[in-house]
Symmetry: C2
Subunit: 136 residues, 2 copies
Amino acid sequence: MQILRMKIRPLTQQRRLLLDTIREVGRHLDAKELYRRANEKDERISLATVYRNLRLFRDQGIIEERHLRRGCCCYEMKRSGEHQHLVCLSCGRVIEFKSPLIHKLVTEVQRKNRFLVARVDLCMEGYCHECKEERK
Amino acid sequence: MQILRMKIRPLTQQRRLLLDTIREVGRHLDAKELYRRANEKDERISLATVYRNLRLFRDQGIIEERHLRRGCCCYEMKRSGEHQHLVCLSCGRVIEFKSPLIHKLVTEVQRKNRFLVARVDLCMEGYCHECKEERK
DNA sequence: ATAGGTGCAAATGGTTTGCGAAAAC
DNA sequence: GTTTTCGCAAACCATTTGCACCTAT
C-alpha cells in the first residue's frame, strides 16, 4: 500500500479516503457507489473529486477499470493475478474467475495477429448456479 | 436476410434502411455513425429511431452489442461464428479474431463455476502490428 | 381501422470541466 | 509562496421518453 501511495502526490485527504474505501470494499465499485460510501465517512467529498481521482488512479495503474454493466464503468484495486468476470443476468452478482487458458489465448493472439496485448477485458454474461436452478 | 426480417414487424422503411445499412457497412457501428450513414440515404430518419431500433434488433437477436469503446456501444450483424475483438490503442482499428480456446474457456467456466454462459464479451486492447513498429 | 412506429424536443444519467476558494508541498 | 486539488454548478454526451402525427398491416 505504501508503494502505491507514493505515486499519488499530493496525497490529499480525499485521495486517502477514496483509496481506503476502494481497498476496504474489495469488490467492484462504480463511481456513484464509491461516492456514496466515501461520503458516509466524510460528507465534504464531492462526486467530481471521485471521478477525477478514479481517472488518476487508473492512469497511475493503481486501479483497474472494467465494463461490467451497460452505461457505466466499475473499478477495483489492481492485483497481481489476472482475473476476469462473470455477470449474472438475473441477480446481477459478479463472480471472478481465473484460467490458464486466458494466458494461452493472449499468447496465441499476439503470435497469430502480430498484436501486442496490453489489457484483457473478458466478461461473460449468463446465469449463476442459484438463478439457474430457480429458472427450472 | 428474409428470415431475419420476418422477426421485425411492422417492417417500416426506416427499419429496412437501418438493416440494409448495418449489413452493408459490415463492421462495427455505433448509433451516431449508423445515424450518419442512414441519414445520407434518407434525410427523414431521426436519431431516436436509430436508438429504438438498435434496441429492438438486439432484443430480437439480429445484431450483437459490443463494448469496444468507453462510453458507447457498437453493433454488428450477428453471424454464425463466434468471434472477439482486438482494439488498437494507437490507431483505433478494430481487428476480429477467433480461437478454439474461447470455446474451451466457456466450457471450463461452466463446469468449474456452475455458471450458464449466455454471452462472451472479450476485448483485448493493445497495439496492432503497424503501430507497434512505429513506436520503436 | 387500428396497433404500433416515427420525428421532434425535452428529459435523463453518467461523466467532465471552469472557476474561485482551500490545501499540499 | 507556489502549484495543484477541491467543491460547486453548469456543461457535455450518449441514450431514453412523452406526445402528436403517420404508416404498415
